[in-house]
Amino acid sequence: MVLVALGGTAALMATAALALTFAQAARARHLVYGVCLATSLVLLAIGLIALLGIHANPSVTTLPLGIPWLGAHFRLDALSAFFLVVVNLGGAAASLFALGYGRHEHAPRRVLPFYPAFLAGMNIVVLADDAFTFLVSWEFMSLSSWALVMAHHRIADNVRAGYLYLIMASFGTITLLLTFGLLAGPDGGYAFDDIRAAHPSTTLAASVLILALIGAGSKAGLVPLHVWLPLAHPAAPSHVSALMSGVMTKVAVYGLVRIVFDLIGTPAWWWSMVVLALGGVTAVMGVLYALMQHDLKRLLAYHTVENIGIIFIGLGLALAFKAYGMAWAAALALTAGLLHVFNHSVFKSLLFFGAGAVLTSTGERDMEHLGGLIHRMPQTAFVFLVGCAAISALPPLNGFVSEWLTFQAILLSPQLPSWGLKLLVPAVGALLALSATLAAACFVKAFGVTFLGRVRTSAAENAHETDRFSLAAMFFLAALCLVAGILPGAFIDALAPVAQGLVGDRMPVQSNVDWLSIVPIAESRSSYNGLLVFVFMVLSGVLAAWAIHRLASDKLRRAPPWDCGYPEASPATQYTASSFAQPIRRVFGSVVFRAREHVEMPSPGDTRPARFTVELHDLVWDTLYAPIAGGIGFAADKLNHLQFLTIRQFLSLVFAALVLLLLVLAIWP
């Protein structure tokens, strides 16, 4: 099985190499994206077959590539299969979308070769079974996505985004290198099987956890390591943004789950506190950042940070339950987190595709230059609405299911004996509830300001509907959102082998429950039936519509909206994104971002317009990154003097280093 998967990734690499040569050819775009679509579908099928247990054992293989005495190990077990499904579902959808979207690309030579390479890199990370293969493919994934971020390099913002991305990605890889170094130990057992067999000491395991959180967390977007994400994700072309936000962050989550749940061994209880705290803070900070944005793609990128926080809350709870041996509760929490991984990749990709459609149709990313698009792009508006509803966790769609399962896991936590957890988990629960509601507010803003209301600029006036490939990809993802919300039992059962492998137990079998409900613990405690809720809502709506049709008048007349006596109000008087967020900015932002508003009124008689300024400080950047950057700049300035020494001084440096090393050799016992 794993060999077939590897064959698929080899096909992707070959496509990348070919695209390097033939990118300018007329049909290149269709060929490249078509091959990617087909290969992703094949890999998706392999992942599903492995996950649903049609092939019993985890299949392993070793190829004679890489380091001579190590080789390259590959393994396809339940966790890899699940993430293979996630990666390739996103990859297939993005390739389908790009078949239509790619025609607007004016620099295909900078995009076409790197896109299949990016997909290949992500697939190999998920399949890797030793540290070397993992790290090489991780770097490969980062570099190919960096090349895609730099595709439109004439825009200064993109260059800055790419630079920051490169720094943070390198930092993450160094940390992961250290992690695997610590795990492999002095004997150098880099294969994952050897690492699983070794039993690290508690301090070693703790260091591994912290380093893994930094390394994988920076790629996933944990606060405070998230700063590159909202700059880099929007800079890439839209189908790549969808892949980066929806899929690459999940590959980072895979890395963390693999290291912390599989390779380290039994966790200590306090590890869960770190993960939970980071997850809670990330969730709230991410959504508050998103609420302050008016660039549509940057809003979506910040929102990815929030959802990563929610996933980490689920993972933290699973760690806590696993540390105390409550395997059934750990299975619930882990399933909640992993189901959110799947759900988020689906609806985030959908939303980024919608943003890409709006971008190609109007040329604008700024919400405050759009408006009224629901009349001009009705189908895009409809699927974007489904995506917004799904991400706001509204029943009966899929976002609600993973959030509900996370809440049920939180309700099991009073059984944990630790005091720290007893105080932290309710606080994290409150943070989760807060972030969920703020997410709904954020997407009312995103959909309302972009698609509803009146047209604000001529760019929006001339918008038109996108092509059928893009629409097909978006409708497919929207349908998947609804199906995952109505039939969540099937998805939970599919995740059972993953939970079984990682925490030793699984959730109750959902396919046995009557009426297709889901039951996280026992029927008497709680249950949820997405299908019935959906049917009830549809029936009530239809009943209401029928009753109104029979009993009420059906006359309708169009008229100008209520204008309070001031006719011909310009479209500039309607609410913008910043004005919509103003109450929330005032309540939360004045503390979190030191948000301040200034109004400068001209003196009476002066005909200049009044000026309204909103000031926001990114405290993470100001307190963490700016001092580090300043410090590095300062050190670099001082060290610059070393370039201008005389020959005698260079020789004395070499001499001093030699003497120092000899001294160390002499003194070292």
């Binding site: 809440f407 009312v444 249950s527 100008p560 209520w562």
Partner: protein
């Protein structure tokens, strides 16, 4: 046979909440008027208003989209489904296991989502004021509600409303501090969610003081009738929720003889009347708050909910 009877009870419950909702609103308005030494409208005036609105022509803004026309039905469907799942005179309704209290709150959240979108649809500043203030209020009220649900679930051992009501009516529950805190927080959240004084004034005509009314400013005719009915249903839902959780005596358990259903019904109507009376008393004795004092009010509710949850985590007897 028993299944058909259960179906009939569930259907009766759905019809009952629909019929009683305007009556509760009318009763509250009448009591408020009397307390202000006015005669006030008749108690059945909301029914007359609904019929009148149904007969009127809909005046639609020129740039209103399909979402504007579909939203009233979506809002009504979500609110009606949520209201039908709250036990009124009998626990253990046939489909009460399909959605627990978290799902009911999320259904109300989706109604609010579409209402806020409808407010933004026409593109005037009034809708924007309403929607932006509504999401600010919701961003604090819903987390407070979820904290309250956590407290109740940790006491009763389940998030299903029927199980909670059954547990809270049994003698094992005792008087707990967290229950008292949860009750206070739930009352504060209910006032905020139903757009009542001191958070919002349901009877104002000044656009700058509106929150809920501003979002529905452009609606008319049958659409407005549906939205008004949804708002009444939401008020009924919250009063039923408070009475089924904190005043659960009179709720008929599933196995009881059918004659008790009449007593349950009478008890429920009495609870609604008392709830309406207390609400009217509260609204006339307090002034409406400035918009930016509402976050402090709801922040206090969130803290109360968090404190109640914390107490449940820390001690099993509190």
């Amino acid at each position: 046979m028993a299944v058909i009877f259960d179906f009939a009870v569930q259907g009766a419950q759905m019809l009952l909440v629909l019929l009683l909702a305007p009556l509760l609103t009318g009763f509250t308005r009448k009591v408020k008027a009397r307390l202000l030494l006015r005669r006030g409208p008749a108690v059945i005036q909301p029914y007359r208003d609904l019929v009148r609105l149904m007969r009127k022509e809909v005046v639609l803004a020129e740039n209103a989209s399909w979402l504007f026309r579909v939203s009233p039905y979506l809002i009504f469907a979500a609110t009606w489904v949520a209201a039908s799942l709250v036990p009124t005179f009998r626990t253990g309704l046939l489909f009460s296991w399909s959605a627990d209290l978290i799902a009911i709150v999320a259904l109300l959240g989706s109604a609010r989502f579409f209402l806020a979108l409808a407010g933004l649809d026409v593109g005037t500043s009034f809708g924007g004021i309403g929607s932006s203030r509504e999401v600010m209020i919701a961003s604090l009220a819903e987390p407070a509600m979820i904290m309250i649900i956590f407290t109740l679930a940790l006491i009763a051992g389940s998030t299903q409303l029927s199980t909670m009501a059954g547990f809270l009516v049994s003698p094992e529950v005792g008087l707990r501090v967290s229950l008292g805190l949860a009750l206070l927080a739930l009352i504060m959240v209910a006032i905020a969610e139903n757009a009542r004084i001191p958070v919002d004034n349901p009877a104002t005509h000044l656009e700058l003081t509106m929150v809920h009314e501003a979002m529905v400013l452009e609606y008319s005719g049958r659409h407005l009738a549906l939205i008004e009915l949804s708002a009444s249903l939401k008020l009924l839902l919250y009063v039923s929720l408070i009475s089924c959780l904190f005043v659960p005596w009179g709720l008929v358990p599933p196995g009881a003889p059918n004659g008790l259903l009449v007593i349950g019904l009478l008890a429920y109507i009495a609870k609604l009347a008392i709830g309406g009376l207390l609400l009217a008393l509260f609204e006339t004795s307090i002034a409406k708050m400035r918009v930016f004092r509402v976050p402090e009010f709801l922040g206090a509710a969130l803290m109360l909910g968090l404190l109640a949850t914390l107490l449940r985590f820390v001690s099993r007897s509190m």
